[in-house]
């Protein structure tokens, strides 16, 4: 049966359990030094592993990105949730989604390509976007509009650093104390919401978007 062909791979004994645990923990696996051996195994056994997860768990081993940006992760079906019990599914706090979009915007849209310090990121989010500031404080720090205090600043910093820790856990970034580096899988945040992003007008009606 194809779905267990990867068991015969010589490295399966050493690597499969690690890969299986990582994937089921929501980790994105890409061709970067810290995951390279796992990535290569998946790449070599892609078809068989895909069949395995689909057949036994009802979830999908998914590949995204091209060439060096390629990454793998486990995705749910849009409609069913496969054989994964509810308690094994985890929802990102929505604040983290906002942090992810902010990081994406700062680096990949506004071009802060030299940004790799967590504390600098926190400062940029707090200071550099005047137009977004009131809503950032409202949504992330739970501050009432136009009334921000030092406590709110600290809340923002904490949410940002908590979010980065979570991103590091699922292989979106590498985090090392104050230093962070986005990995290819980080761009998945835009893909997750691409339905909305690509069809903003249709989805909301043209009037509602500023």
């Amino acid at each position: 049966m194809n779905s267990i062909a990867f068991f015969k791979h010589p490295d399966a004994r050493i690597l499969f359990a690690k890969i299986d645990y990582a994937l089921k923990d929501g980790v994105h696996i890409q061709n970067r030094p810290h995951q390279a051996h796992l990535f290569r195994f998946i790449e070599k056994n892609e078809e068989s592993l895909k069949a395995f997860y689909e057949e036994f768990y009802g979830v999908y081993l998914t590949r995204e990105g091209e060439t060096v940006e390629k990454y793998y992760y486990i995705a749910f079906d849009h409609n069913s949730r496969g054989n994964i019990p509810l308690e094994h599914r985890y929802f990102f706090p929505n604040e983290y989604v906002i942090v992810a979009f902010m990081v994406y915007k700062i680096i990949y849209i506004d071009g802060y390509v030299d940004l790799s310090s967590v504390s600098k990121l926190q400062k940029i989010i707090r200071h550099d976007y005047e137009d977004l500031k009131p809503d950032l404080y409202r949504t992330l720090a739970k501050a009432k509009k136009d009334k921000t205090t030092k406590v709110h600043d600290e809340n923002i910093d904490k949410i940002v650093s908590d979010a980065l820790k979570e991103f590091a856990k699922i292989g979106w970034i590498i985090l090392d104390n104050d230093t962070f580096d986005p990995l290819p899988a980080f761009t998945r945040i835009t893909k997750m919401y691409s339905e909305y992003i690509n069809n903003l007008e249709d989805w909301l009606g043209k009037d509602e978007i500023s």
Binding site: G26, F101, P182, T190
Partner: protein
């Protein structure tokens, strides 16, 4: 004078020394103006006249506005007098001026920093020369000179090269951001491509610089070997600081590499985004929409952020299962140790016990004494009566000793080679008629 005795700070704050070393802008610029003309060869013999200095000051537009024209000569004279302290030297025979070394340094340093010519081949050449000179420096004094003079002069040249690379990175990043902000430009992608190429250049420059630094490992090894055989504290310190310098350069070079490693993938992503400008705009609009329309809901005193209706949350698979490992941990459940009883030493009891032991030895000696007497007596007589010894022991010593003596006679008879004849009759003590033992005759066996 050694560096330790010289207080740089207090020295420079004396009188107007600082002002003389760092003249005000107009004067500094005039020096640069002269330097540039001189290096172009405009002044024969590298000398210049007072009129040249005036021209320099005029050309940098130094003329106090509130002063009438005729007074400016006095100002110029004052400036020229000040400059003579560190910058220029007056040759009164020929009535010309020439630069002092400080002025040369002042200009060349600044020039090198600004011009920032990247020249790893130059570094490589200097490194090779340094190695050669070091190997030729055979005496202690020569090594010391190499460390404190030759190598020291070379340090700023190296640092400048790395500074230059770092500055290029910063400038390129800044330029990149400016171009993005200014994205009405039709040529943005092409512009950014140029910047990306610039990063590639910087990386290869860094690589070249690193290659030029290879010579360092030879110098380093040589210095380490030499330091083993030279027993001189000052040279030891100099070698140490030179090795530290190599470490610092190495760290700087790899930090440049790290910086580039971080920046370049992000630029690639930026490019792919620029090719789909609508997607970018939409991401920003979507983020704006989320920020504007998400609501804070309080649930069980916890504030939760809710996205506008219809927007799904990010769902991620996460195993909760952790293997239950039943383990008897040694640190939590250590083997029960047996209670150890420690007896405290009681000096009185100890002495008593020792005295008892000593007494027992003494008693053994006494018994042995009786046995020896019997033995000797048996050499004179053919037989002896045991009761004589027994009663003697009984009255001289005690009953206990006498009984022990009897036991020893019976036990050790073979050792002494005795024959014992017991009879049913009793021998009575002479002292007391109530005390008697069975009659026992001891004879020699042969």
């Amino acid at each position: 004078m050694s560096g330790a005795d010289f207080d740089f700070f207090s020295e420079i704050t004396k009188e107007n020394i600082y002002e003389l070393l760092y003249p005000k802008k107009e004067v500094g610029l005039a020096i640069v103006w002269l330097y540039q003309r001189s290096s172009r060869g405009d002044f024969p013999d590298s000398t210049f006249k007072e009129a040249d200095i005036h021209e320099a000051l005029d050309s940098v537009r130094f003329r106090p506005k509130h002063q009438p024209q005729r007074n400016s000569i006095e100002y110029y004279n004052k400036i020229i007098a000040d400059l003579q302290e560190y910058f220029i030297r007056y040759d009164d025979e020929k009535q010309v001026y020439r630069f002092k070394e400080y002025a040369n340094e002042f200009c060349t340093r600044t020039l090198a920093t600004l011009k920032a010519n990247f020249d790893p081949t130059q570094i490589e050449k200097i490194c090779k020369k340094l190695t050669k000179e070091l190997i030729e420096a055979e005496t202690k004094e020569k090594i010391k000179d190499w460390l404190s003079i030759t190598f020291d002069e070379f340090k700023p040249v190296l640092r400048q090269q790395i500074d230059f690379i770092e500055r290029q990175i910063d400038n390129s990043v800044l330029k990149l951001r400016q171009k993005i902000n200014d994205n009405k430009q039709a040529k943005i992608v092409q512009n950014l491509k140029e910047i990306d190429d610039r990063f590639d250049d910087i990386r290869s420059q860094n690589k070249e610089l690193r290659a030029a630094f290879r010579e360092f490992s030879i110098i380093k090894k040589y210095l380490q070997e030499r330091s083993m055989s030279i027993d001189d504290e000052e040279i030891g310190d100099l070698i140490y600081s030179t090795l530290q310098f190599f470490q610092e350069m190495k760290r700087l070079l790899s930090s440049v590499d790290n910086q580039l490693d971080r920046i370049q993938p992000k630029i690639k992503q930026l490019f792919s985004n620029l090719n789909k400008p609508l997607f970018n705009t939409n991401i920003e609009r979507f983020l704006r929409f989320l920020l504007d329309n998400s609501q804070i809901k309080t649930e069980k005193s916890k504030k939760l952020l809710e996205f506008p209706f219809g927007i799904s949350k990010v769902e991620i698979l996460r195993q909760l299962i952790k293997f239950s490992i039943v383990e008897r941990r040694k640190d939590l459940f250590p083997a029960k140790s047996l209670k150890k009883i420690r007896y405290s030493e009681n000096q009185a009891s100890k002495q008593k016990a020792q005295q008892n032991a000593r007494n027992r030895f003494i008693r053994q000696d006494i018994i042995n004494g009786y046995l020896n007497r019997i033995h000797i007596d048996l050499k004179k007589k053919s037989e002896v009566k045991f009761s004589d010894y027994f009663f003697e022991a009984l009255y001289k010593n005690d009953l206990h000793l006498a009984v022990e003596l009897a036991y020893r006679v019976i036990r050790d008879k073979k050792i002494y080679d005795w024959r014992l004849d017991l009879s049913t009759q009793n021998d009575y003590s002479k002292q007391s008629k109530n005390v008697a033992i069975r009659k026992m005759i001891i004879r020699r066996a042969k």
